[in-house]
Symmetry: C2
Subunit: 198 residues, 2 copies
Protein backbone atom coordinates (compact mmCIF):
# COMPACT_ATOMS: atom_id res chain seq x y z
CA UNK A 1 0.00 0.00 0.00
CA UNK A 2 1.50 3.34 -1.12
CA UNK A 3 1.42 6.45 1.03
CA UNK A 4 -1.00 9.26 0.09
CA UNK A 5 0.18 10.92 -3.19
CA UNK A 6 1.14 14.20 -1.48
CA UNK A 7 3.23 12.32 1.08
CA UNK A 8 4.84 10.16 -1.62
CA UNK A 9 5.75 13.30 -3.59
CA UNK A 10 7.37 14.83 -0.48
CA UNK A 11 9.31 11.59 0.15
CA UNK A 12 10.55 11.58 -3.46
CA UNK A 13 11.76 15.19 -3.22
CA UNK A 14 13.41 14.65 0.18
CA UNK A 15 15.28 11.58 -1.09
CA UNK A 16 17.03 13.75 -3.70
CA UNK A 17 18.80 15.70 -0.95
CA UNK A 18 22.43 14.76 -0.27
CA UNK A 19 22.85 12.36 2.63
CA UNK A 20 19.11 11.70 2.85
CA UNK A 21 18.15 8.07 2.17
CA UNK A 22 14.67 6.50 2.23
CA UNK A 23 14.72 6.12 6.03
CA UNK A 24 15.72 9.68 6.85
CA UNK A 25 13.34 10.97 4.15
CA UNK A 26 10.54 9.15 5.96
CA UNK A 27 11.66 10.50 9.32
CA UNK A 28 11.76 14.07 7.96
CA UNK A 29 8.42 13.69 6.14
CA UNK A 30 6.67 12.54 9.32
CA UNK A 31 8.31 15.37 11.24
CA UNK A 32 6.88 17.82 8.68
CA UNK A 33 3.45 16.16 8.80
CA UNK A 34 3.49 16.37 12.57
CA UNK A 35 4.85 19.93 12.78
CA UNK A 36 2.47 22.85 13.03
CA UNK A 37 1.79 24.50 9.69
CA UNK A 38 3.77 27.69 10.45
CA UNK A 39 6.94 25.73 11.22
CA UNK A 40 6.68 23.66 8.04
CA UNK A 41 5.92 26.74 5.95
CA UNK A 42 8.98 28.54 7.32
CA UNK A 43 11.10 25.76 5.81
CA UNK A 44 9.25 25.87 2.47
CA UNK A 45 9.59 29.65 2.37
CA UNK A 46 13.27 29.60 3.33
CA UNK A 47 13.90 27.34 0.32
CA UNK A 48 11.91 29.60 -2.01
CA UNK A 49 13.56 32.73 -0.61
CA UNK A 50 17.06 31.41 -1.10
CA UNK A 51 16.31 30.59 -4.76
CA UNK A 52 14.74 33.99 -5.18
CA UNK A 53 17.27 36.22 -3.45
CA UNK A 54 20.63 34.55 -3.75
CA UNK A 55 22.87 35.25 -6.73
CA UNK A 56 26.63 35.36 -7.29
CA UNK A 57 28.81 38.10 -5.79
CA UNK A 58 29.93 40.38 -8.62
CA UNK A 59 33.50 40.32 -7.36
CA UNK A 60 34.32 36.89 -5.93
CA UNK A 61 31.36 34.73 -7.12
CA UNK A 62 30.46 33.61 -3.62
CA UNK A 63 26.71 33.41 -2.97
CA UNK A 64 25.38 36.90 -2.22
CA UNK A 65 22.11 38.62 -1.46
CA UNK A 66 23.29 41.96 -2.86
CA UNK A 67 25.72 42.90 -5.65
CA UNK A 68 28.59 41.97 -3.35
CA UNK A 69 28.72 39.13 -0.81
CA UNK A 70 29.04 39.93 2.89
CA UNK A 71 32.77 39.34 2.77
CA UNK A 72 33.53 41.54 -0.28
CA UNK A 73 31.23 44.22 1.12
CA UNK A 74 32.97 44.23 4.52
CA UNK A 75 35.39 47.05 5.28
CA UNK A 76 37.30 44.84 7.68
CA UNK A 77 38.76 42.42 5.14
CA UNK A 78 42.28 42.60 3.75
CA UNK A 79 41.88 43.01 -0.02
CA UNK A 80 45.57 42.38 -0.68
CA UNK A 81 45.18 38.64 -0.12
CA UNK A 82 42.82 36.49 -2.19
CA UNK A 83 41.97 32.91 -1.24
CA UNK A 84 40.96 30.89 -4.31
CA UNK A 85 38.41 28.10 -3.71
CA UNK A 86 36.50 25.76 -6.02
CA UNK A 87 32.99 26.29 -4.67
CA UNK A 88 31.09 28.71 -2.37
CA UNK A 89 30.65 25.82 0.11
CA UNK A 90 34.44 25.85 0.68
CA UNK A 91 34.27 29.35 2.20
CA UNK A 92 32.40 28.68 5.51
CA UNK A 93 34.96 26.10 6.77
CA UNK A 94 37.80 28.56 6.08
CA UNK A 95 35.86 31.38 7.77
CA UNK A 96 35.28 29.20 10.82
CA UNK A 97 39.04 28.82 11.37
CA UNK A 98 39.17 32.55 12.19
CA UNK A 99 42.68 32.55 10.68
CA UNK A 100 41.93 34.21 7.34
CA UNK A 101 41.02 37.87 7.02
CA UNK A 102 41.48 38.32 3.27
CA UNK A 103 38.90 37.99 0.52
CA UNK A 104 37.93 35.07 -1.74
CA UNK A 105 37.62 34.06 -5.36
CA UNK A 106 35.32 31.19 -6.30
CA UNK A 107 36.37 29.31 -9.44
CA UNK A 108 33.11 27.39 -9.81
CA UNK A 109 34.82 24.00 -10.10
CA UNK A 110 38.22 22.48 -10.70
CA UNK A 111 40.15 21.46 -13.82
CA UNK A 112 39.25 17.94 -14.88
CA UNK A 113 40.40 16.68 -18.29
CA UNK A 114 38.44 13.47 -17.53
CA UNK A 115 35.18 15.40 -17.26
CA UNK A 116 36.12 17.94 -19.90
CA UNK A 117 36.42 20.89 -17.51
CA UNK A 118 39.02 23.33 -18.88
CA UNK A 119 40.21 26.77 -17.66
CA UNK A 120 37.53 28.46 -19.81
CA UNK A 121 34.85 26.69 -17.72
CA UNK A 122 36.22 28.21 -14.51
CA UNK A 123 36.37 31.86 -13.40
CA UNK A 124 40.08 32.08 -14.20
CA UNK A 125 39.86 35.12 -16.49
CA UNK A 126 37.90 36.92 -13.77
CA UNK A 127 40.66 36.08 -11.24
CA UNK A 128 43.34 37.43 -13.59
CA UNK A 129 41.20 40.54 -14.07
CA UNK A 130 41.16 41.10 -10.31
CA UNK A 131 44.92 40.64 -10.09
CA UNK A 132 45.36 43.24 -12.85
CA UNK A 133 43.02 45.86 -11.38
CA UNK A 134 43.29 45.35 -7.61
CA UNK A 135 46.41 45.67 -5.46
CA UNK A 136 46.92 42.02 -4.60
CA UNK A 137 50.06 40.80 -2.81
CA UNK A 138 49.22 37.13 -2.31
CA UNK A 139 46.97 34.46 -3.77
CA UNK A 140 46.30 31.45 -1.50
CA UNK A 141 45.29 28.43 -3.54
CA UNK A 142 42.74 26.56 -1.42
CA UNK A 143 41.42 24.09 -3.98
CA UNK A 144 40.84 20.57 -2.64
CA UNK A 145 43.84 18.33 -1.95
CA UNK A 146 42.77 15.82 -4.63
CA UNK A 147 43.83 15.31 -8.26
CA UNK A 148 41.54 17.98 -9.74
CA UNK A 149 42.31 20.48 -6.98
CA UNK A 150 46.08 19.95 -7.25
CA UNK A 151 45.94 20.23 -11.05
CA UNK A 152 43.99 23.47 -10.74
CA UNK A 153 46.43 24.86 -8.16
CA UNK A 154 49.46 23.96 -10.31
CA UNK A 155 47.82 25.55 -13.38
CA UNK A 156 46.95 28.77 -11.53
CA UNK A 157 50.41 28.99 -9.92
CA UNK A 158 52.04 28.80 -13.37
CA UNK A 159 49.72 31.53 -14.61
CA UNK A 160 49.97 33.91 -11.64
CA UNK A 161 53.62 33.73 -10.58
CA UNK A 162 54.89 35.62 -13.69
CA UNK A 163 52.63 38.55 -12.72
CA UNK A 164 54.77 38.97 -9.62
CA UNK A 165 52.08 38.01 -7.09
CA UNK A 166 53.07 35.61 -4.27
CA UNK A 167 51.27 32.28 -4.72
CA UNK A 168 50.81 29.94 -1.74
CA UNK A 169 49.04 26.63 -1.24
CA UNK A 170 47.24 25.20 1.81
CA UNK A 171 49.61 22.88 3.69
CA UNK A 172 49.03 19.15 3.47
CA UNK A 173 49.84 17.00 6.50
CA UNK A 174 48.40 15.10 9.43
CA UNK A 175 45.00 16.29 10.64
CA UNK A 176 45.32 17.89 14.09
CA UNK A 177 44.07 15.46 16.72
CA UNK A 178 44.46 12.61 14.24
CA UNK A 179 46.22 9.34 14.85
CA UNK A 180 49.50 8.56 13.07
CA UNK A 181 48.47 4.91 13.02
CA UNK A 182 45.40 5.67 10.92
CA UNK A 183 46.91 8.26 8.57
CA UNK A 184 46.90 7.20 4.91
CA UNK A 185 50.34 6.86 3.35
CA UNK A 186 50.01 9.78 0.94
CA UNK A 187 49.09 12.19 3.75
CA UNK A 188 51.84 10.83 5.98
CA UNK A 189 54.34 11.11 3.09
CA UNK A 190 53.36 14.77 2.58
CA UNK A 191 53.70 15.40 6.32
CA UNK A 192 57.22 13.94 6.24
CA UNK A 193 58.28 15.90 3.18
CA UNK A 194 56.96 19.13 4.70
CA UNK A 195 58.52 18.48 8.14
CA UNK A 196 59.56 21.64 9.98
CA UNK A 197 62.46 22.37 12.34
CA UNK A 198 61.35 22.95 15.93
Amino acid sequence: MQAAPAIQKLLDELERLPGVGPKSAQRIAYWILNADKATAMRLAEAIAEVKDKIRFCGQCFNYAEDDLCEICASTRRDRSIICVVSEPRDIPPIERTGVFSGVYHVLGGALSPMEGVGPEDLRVAELLGRLASEDVAEVVLATNPNIEGETTAAYLARLIKPIGVTVTRLASGLPVGGDLEFADEVTLGRALEARRPL
Copy 2:
Protein backbone atom coordinates in the same frame (compact mmCIF):
# COMPACT_ATOMS: atom_id res chain seq x y z
CA MET B 1 31.65 36.22 8.95
CA GLN B 2 28.01 35.05 8.81
CA ALA B 3 26.42 33.65 5.66
CA ALA B 4 23.94 35.83 3.73
CA PRO B 5 20.72 36.25 5.82
CA ALA B 6 18.60 34.15 3.41
CA ILE B 7 21.14 31.32 3.56
CA GLN B 8 21.39 31.57 7.36
CA LYS B 9 17.60 31.37 7.62
CA LEU B 10 17.56 28.23 5.46
CA LEU B 11 20.34 26.69 7.57
CA ASP B 12 18.37 27.42 10.76
CA GLU B 13 15.21 25.80 9.38
CA LEU B 14 17.08 22.77 8.03
CA GLU B 15 18.78 22.20 11.38
CA ARG B 16 15.38 21.73 13.01
CA LEU B 17 14.76 18.59 10.95
CA PRO B 18 15.31 15.26 12.73
CA GLY B 19 18.73 13.74 12.07
CA VAL B 20 20.02 16.93 10.41
CA GLY B 21 22.94 18.55 12.24
CA PRO B 22 24.87 21.69 11.27
CA LYS B 23 27.06 19.80 8.78
CA SER B 24 24.25 18.08 6.90
CA ALA B 25 22.20 21.30 7.00
CA GLN B 26 25.09 23.04 5.26
CA ARG B 27 25.40 20.22 2.73
CA ILE B 28 21.67 20.35 1.97
CA ALA B 29 21.63 24.17 1.80
CA TYR B 30 24.45 24.24 -0.74
CA TRP B 31 22.73 21.50 -2.71
CA ILE B 32 19.59 23.68 -2.82
CA LEU B 33 21.62 26.78 -3.76
CA ASN B 34 23.29 24.81 -6.53
CA ALA B 35 20.13 23.09 -7.79
CA ASP B 36 18.13 24.64 -10.62
CA LYS B 37 15.19 26.68 -9.39
CA ALA B 38 12.51 24.21 -10.56
CA THR B 39 14.06 21.36 -8.56
CA ALA B 40 14.31 23.44 -5.39
CA MET B 41 10.76 24.74 -5.82
CA ARG B 42 9.41 21.19 -6.19
CA LEU B 43 10.71 20.50 -2.68
CA ALA B 44 9.27 23.74 -1.28
CA GLU B 45 5.92 23.01 -2.92
CA ALA B 46 5.85 19.39 -1.76
CA ILE B 47 6.21 20.66 1.81
CA ALA B 48 3.45 23.24 1.36
CA GLU B 49 1.17 20.72 -0.39
CA VAL B 50 1.51 18.14 2.34
CA LYS B 51 0.54 20.71 4.98
CA ASP B 52 -2.33 21.84 2.81
CA LYS B 53 -3.78 18.51 1.72
CA ILE B 54 -3.04 16.00 4.44
CA ARG B 55 -5.47 15.49 7.32
CA PHE B 56 -6.42 12.53 9.50
CA CYS B 57 -8.40 9.57 8.15
CA GLY B 58 -11.92 9.73 9.60
CA GLN B 59 -11.81 6.07 10.49
CA CYS B 60 -8.29 5.09 11.60
CA PHE B 61 -6.57 8.50 12.07
CA ASN B 62 -3.74 7.65 9.69
CA TYR B 63 -2.66 10.56 7.45
CA ALA B 64 -5.06 10.86 4.53
CA GLU B 65 -5.65 13.04 1.51
CA ASP B 66 -9.40 12.29 1.44
CA ASP B 67 -11.96 11.49 4.14
CA LEU B 68 -10.48 8.02 4.39
CA CYS B 69 -6.83 7.00 4.07
CA GLU B 70 -5.75 4.77 1.19
CA ILE B 71 -5.89 1.71 3.43
CA CYS B 72 -9.37 2.32 4.89
CA ALA B 73 -10.63 3.22 1.40
CA SER B 74 -9.25 0.02 -0.14
CA THR B 75 -11.69 -2.80 -0.91
CA ARG B 76 -8.93 -5.36 -0.55
CA ARG B 77 -8.31 -4.99 3.18
CA ASP B 78 -9.70 -7.32 5.81
CA ARG B 79 -11.82 -5.13 8.10
CA SER B 80 -12.19 -7.88 10.71
CA ILE B 81 -8.66 -7.35 11.99
CA ILE B 82 -7.44 -3.99 13.34
CA CYS B 83 -3.80 -3.28 14.03
CA VAL B 84 -3.40 -0.61 16.74
CA VAL B 85 -0.33 1.62 16.43
CA SER B 86 0.86 4.73 18.28
CA GLU B 87 1.64 6.97 15.31
CA PRO B 88 0.99 7.13 11.54
CA ARG B 89 4.75 6.62 11.00
CA ASP B 90 4.40 3.10 12.45
CA ILE B 91 2.17 2.03 9.54
CA PRO B 92 4.67 2.04 6.60
CA PRO B 93 7.09 -0.44 8.24
CA ILE B 94 4.20 -2.83 8.93
CA GLU B 95 2.90 -2.40 5.35
CA ARG B 96 6.36 -3.15 3.97
CA THR B 97 6.38 -6.59 5.64
CA GLY B 98 3.54 -7.61 3.27
CA VAL B 99 2.27 -9.84 6.08
CA PHE B 100 -0.69 -7.74 7.26
CA SER B 101 -3.84 -7.28 5.21
CA GLY B 102 -6.13 -5.86 7.89
CA VAL B 103 -6.79 -2.20 8.74
CA TYR B 104 -5.25 0.13 11.31
CA HIS B 105 -6.11 2.36 14.23
CA VAL B 106 -3.74 5.17 15.19
CA LEU B 107 -3.83 6.08 18.89
CA GLY B 108 -1.87 9.31 18.49
CA GLY B 109 0.63 8.44 21.22
CA ALA B 110 1.10 6.04 24.10
CA LEU B 111 0.14 6.09 27.77
CA SER B 112 2.77 7.86 29.86
CA PRO B 113 2.00 8.74 33.47
CA MET B 114 5.42 10.47 33.55
CA GLU B 115 4.43 12.86 30.77
CA GLY B 116 0.82 13.05 31.85
CA VAL B 117 -0.59 11.21 28.82
CA GLY B 118 -3.76 9.36 29.88
CA PRO B 119 -6.31 7.29 27.90
CA GLU B 120 -8.39 10.44 27.25
CA ASP B 121 -5.43 11.90 25.31
CA LEU B 122 -5.35 8.92 22.95
CA ARG B 123 -7.96 7.75 20.43
CA VAL B 124 -9.14 4.95 22.73
CA ALA B 125 -12.83 5.89 22.72
CA GLU B 126 -12.71 5.95 18.91
CA LEU B 127 -11.20 2.43 18.93
CA LEU B 128 -13.93 1.15 21.26
CA GLY B 129 -16.49 2.81 18.99
CA ARG B 130 -15.12 0.89 16.01
CA LEU B 131 -15.21 -2.38 17.95
CA ALA B 132 -18.86 -1.71 18.84
CA SER B 133 -20.01 -0.79 15.34
CA GLU B 134 -17.76 -2.85 13.03
CA ASP B 135 -17.49 -6.61 12.89
CA VAL B 136 -14.01 -7.02 14.35
CA ALA B 137 -12.59 -10.45 15.23
CA GLU B 138 -9.06 -9.49 16.29
CA VAL B 139 -7.14 -6.49 17.54
CA VAL B 140 -3.34 -6.65 17.08
CA LEU B 141 -1.58 -4.36 19.55
CA ALA B 142 1.45 -3.01 17.70
CA THR B 143 2.52 -0.28 20.09
CA ASN B 144 6.29 0.01 20.61
CA PRO B 145 8.09 -2.62 22.74
CA ASN B 146 9.09 -0.01 25.35
CA ILE B 147 7.57 0.98 28.71
CA GLU B 148 4.92 3.33 27.29
CA GLY B 149 4.01 0.95 24.48
CA GLU B 150 3.75 -2.06 26.79
CA THR B 151 1.67 -0.07 29.28
CA THR B 152 -0.66 1.02 26.49
CA ALA B 153 -0.96 -2.55 25.19
CA ALA B 154 -1.73 -3.93 28.65
CA TYR B 155 -4.32 -1.22 29.23
CA LEU B 156 -6.05 -1.83 25.88
CA ALA B 157 -5.99 -5.62 26.35
CA ARG B 158 -7.78 -5.25 29.70
CA LEU B 159 -10.35 -3.00 28.06
CA ILE B 160 -11.00 -5.02 24.90
CA LYS B 161 -10.89 -8.65 26.05
CA PRO B 162 -14.23 -8.42 27.96
CA ILE B 163 -15.93 -7.36 24.70
CA GLY B 164 -15.08 -10.80 23.32
CA VAL B 165 -12.61 -9.65 20.66
CA THR B 166 -9.32 -11.61 20.34
CA VAL B 167 -6.42 -9.40 21.44
CA THR B 168 -2.87 -10.19 20.25
CA ARG B 169 0.50 -8.50 20.68
CA LEU B 170 3.50 -8.32 18.33
CA ALA B 171 6.05 -10.98 19.31
CA SER B 172 9.25 -9.88 21.03
CA GLY B 173 12.44 -11.80 20.31
CA LEU B 174 15.74 -11.78 18.47
CA PRO B 175 15.85 -9.64 15.33
CA VAL B 176 16.11 -11.87 12.25
CA GLY B 177 19.68 -11.80 10.95
CA GLY B 178 20.82 -10.49 14.32
CA ASP B 179 23.66 -11.87 16.39
CA LEU B 180 22.97 -13.65 19.69
CA GLU B 181 26.23 -12.24 21.01
CA PHE B 182 25.02 -8.67 20.60
CA ALA B 183 21.43 -9.13 21.75
CA ASP B 184 20.54 -7.13 24.86
CA GLU B 185 19.55 -9.24 27.85
CA VAL B 186 15.90 -8.15 27.97
CA THR B 187 15.35 -9.11 24.31
CA LEU B 188 17.20 -12.40 24.78
CA GLY B 189 15.17 -13.09 27.93
CA ARG B 190 11.94 -12.52 25.99
CA ALA B 191 13.18 -14.77 23.19
CA LEU B 192 13.87 -17.54 25.74
CA GLU B 193 10.51 -17.18 27.46
CA ALA B 194 8.70 -17.22 24.12
CA ARG B 195 10.71 -20.22 22.76
CA ARG B 196 8.74 -22.46 20.43
CA PRO B 197 8.84 -26.23 19.84
CA LEU B 198 10.26 -27.21 16.44
